[in-house]
């Protein structure tokens, strides 16, 4: 615990009064920006992998539960419990089992997004108008064709909305991944939490990353649902 939180000296306090005063120092930031590149890359990886795996699992669960409605309650309860476990607690609970590192962080992050994506996929499928499904069936689409050609495409706005929430949430949670020894921007923030320049840059990068992912998914949504903006 102590070693985890041990402060790493990231600056030479003697050289600059701004740095010495824990201030916001543009010069220092320009000179030291390199040290944030690798943590940012780690952070992107942590987030993207967690959202991708979380999506694969919860999308599959939602498709299965869509047809077998009795599964909805148990899946919601289990993923709901996972959602409410504080992530720091999850990291420490997992440490004895999976050890320190990327895998442990991912397990916690993935379990956190399951509920969000599961609920959104299911809501999207449930919101497909009954008459659209009826017409599709009546024209001779099989259940599988109806699912992939009609129901999933029409659920895309809700599915993508779920992905956006999941991605931005995960960026935030991944700042705690260093507790599991998985690095990321959080490690930088906590490396010198008293130093404004450091906190602003590392924290700012996390915010920028969240905004960028959000915008990217939104753009993807526009591309895959060109019909959603169509009005008379």
């Amino acid at each position: 615990m102590i070693e985890l939180l041990a402060q790493v000296e990231i600056r030479d306090r003697s050289a600059d009064s701004c740095v010495g005063d824990n201030g916001f120092c543009p010069d220092w930031i320009v000179d030291n920006f390199d040290r944030y590149v690798d943590p940012l890359a780690e952070h992107v990886l942590l987030t993207v992998v967690a959202v991708a795996i979380g999506f694969a699992i919860s999308f599959t669960l939602a498709l299965v539960a869509y047809r077998r409605r009795w599964l909805i309650a148990p899946v919601t309860q289990v993923t709901g419990v996972l959602y409410t476990v504080p992530s720091i607690a999850a990291f420490f609970l997992l440490l004895p089992i999976t050890g320190r590192g990327f895998t442990t962080a991912e397990i916690a992050l993935v379990s956190y997004v399951l509920l969000i994506i599961f609920r959104n996929v299911l809501a999207g499928l449930d919101n497909v108008p009954a008459e659209t499904k009826d017409a599709g069936r009546g024209m001779g689409l099989t259940a599988r064709q109806l699912l992939w050609r009609v129901e999933v495409p029409l659920a895309l706005p809700e599915i993508m909305a779920g992905l956006r929430i999941a991605a931005t949430t995960t960026v935030g949670l991944a700042t705690l991944a260093f507790f599991a020894g998985a690095g990321g921007l959080g490690e930088q923030i906590f490396a010198d939490i008293t130093f404004k320049s450091n906190v602003v840059v590392a924290g700012g990068l996390a915010i920028v990353l969240a905004a960028a992912l959000d915008a990217l998914i939104l753009l993807a949504q526009r591309l895959v649902t060109p019909w959603a903006g169509a009005h008379r």
Binding site: E131, T132, M139, G140, W227
Partner: protein, 395 residues
């Protein structure tokens, strides 16, 4: 005749004959319900006819229709499509052969109009050139602009969507169409337009159609045969519109068709369909003796004055016939003027509105061709139902 150019006929498929549909004691009992929703329904729809299933809500008309393409499975009895049981067909494969149009239309909002129409052709594996040609043909058939192809359903008006729904149901030229209140959600003016358009279309394509409605007027207008169902899915009567209106089989049918059934019956025929009386046509200035001779030959007691182009001027009074020559002394104007294309109900309405017993009937040029009287209308009600046109033929 030269042989058809194969390139030209590549797109639209050759018309398959319309199917014959037979309900044979078809019964549906929903699980957990004691009473059947449809009980031993037996009726045959001849190929190319529109059969309207009509009745109050809860009479099982939609259930009966949905049993045909196995959207609802039959509990007992059978439904035969061209003699073959639908129970033995795989549902998806059966449905691709049967056009399906519903009140809420159910267009796919995420697909363009063209892709919506192409749904079943794609399921059947048509190549893209054939699909393209067919979509174009169908848009024309339902009077939609070719540009509509690339628009999304959300960009269309209700009437346009309805047309796309019909085009989509017709895409692979199915021998049978199922239509569940297809015009139910449209405002009255547009509904009448769509009904007329559909009848015009039907006159060309002659599909076998099962058409569900709760509206007896729509049933009378659209149907070649009408099946009136009562609660519990029992068939109360299956007859042509004229027969249904003239000889309702039970008190239930009589009540359902309404107290104005004679008027509804008049709506099935047009002025051109009945034998008009010969009009005693006279010109101003002609010898009174001639005018009196014409009058004695006609069943109409008053002479009708016409101009040089045979257009009516008015009904002459006795005073006009007192001298040597016919004088322009009128007892009343020539109104109402009835058109050969008017339905008899409208003609009757015009006569009543003018407090007239006789109405001059004019052709498209405005020349008098005969006289319609209240007596003729009464007579028309006794026409053999077999001779009264129905559905697309009555248009």
């Amino acid at each position: 005749m030269s042989p058809p150019d194969p390139a030209q006929h590549q797109g639209p498929s050759p018309r398959p004959a319309a199917a014959t549909l037979e309900f044979r004691e078809a019964t549906k009992v929903y699980p957990g319900q004691a009473e059947p929703a449809v009980e031993r329904l037996s009726l045959t729809v001849p190929s190319g006819d529109v059969c309207v299933l009509v009745g109050p809500s809860g009479c099982g008309k939609t259930t009966a229709m949905r049993m045909v393409n196995r959207m609802i499975d039959i509990t007992d009895g059978d439904i035969l499509l061209d003699g073959a049981s639908v129970r033995e067909r795989r549902p998806a494969e059966l449905r691709r052969q049967i056009g399906y149009a519903i009140q809420q239309i159910g267009l796919f909002p995420h697909l363009s109009v063209g892709d919506n129409i192409a749904t079943v052709p794609r399921l059947l594996g048509w190549d893209s050139a054939r699909i393209r040609a067919r979509v174009e043909e169908l848009l024309r058939l339902v009077s939609l602009d070719p540009d509509t192809r690339d628009r999304y359903p959300a960009q269309l008006s209700g009437g346009q969507r309805q047309r796309v729904g019909v085009a989509r149901a017709l895409a692979v030229d199915p021998p049978l169409m199922l239509m569940d209140e297809p015009f139910g959600a449209i405002d009255p003016i547009n509904r009448e337009r769509l009904q007329n358009e559909f009848l015009r279309l039907q006159r060309e394509i002659r599909k076998t159609v099962v058409f569900v409605t709760h509206d007896i007027d729509e049933a009378i207008k659209m149907g070649d045969r009408i099946a009136v169902l009562q609660r519990g899915g029992k068939l109360a009567q299956y007859a042509s519109p004229a027969e249904l209106l003239m000889f309702p089989a039970s008190r239930f049918v009589e009540d359902f068709v309404g107290a104005d059934r004679a008027l509804k019956r008049l709506a099935l025929q047009r002025v051109r369909d009945v034998d008009l009386w010969k009009a005693p046509l006279v010109r101003i200035g002609e010898p009174v003796a001639e005018a009196r001779a014409k009058l004695s030959e006609s069943e109409v007691p008053y002479p009708l004055a016409i101009d040089a182009d045979a257009r009516p001027l008015g009904w002459l009074s006795e005073k006009g016939l007192t001298g040597e020559r016919v004088e322009p002394e009128y007892r009343s104007s020539a109104r109402p003027l009835l058109d050969l294309d008017d339905v008899l109900r409208d003609a009757l309405s015009d006569l009543l509105a003018e407090e007239a017993q006789y109405g001059a009937v004019v052709d498209a040029q405005g020349g008098v061709v005969g006289v319609l009287s209240i007596e003729i209308l009464g007579h028309a009600l006794r026409t053999d139902p077999e001779e009264v046109p129905s559905g697309a033929d009555a248009l």
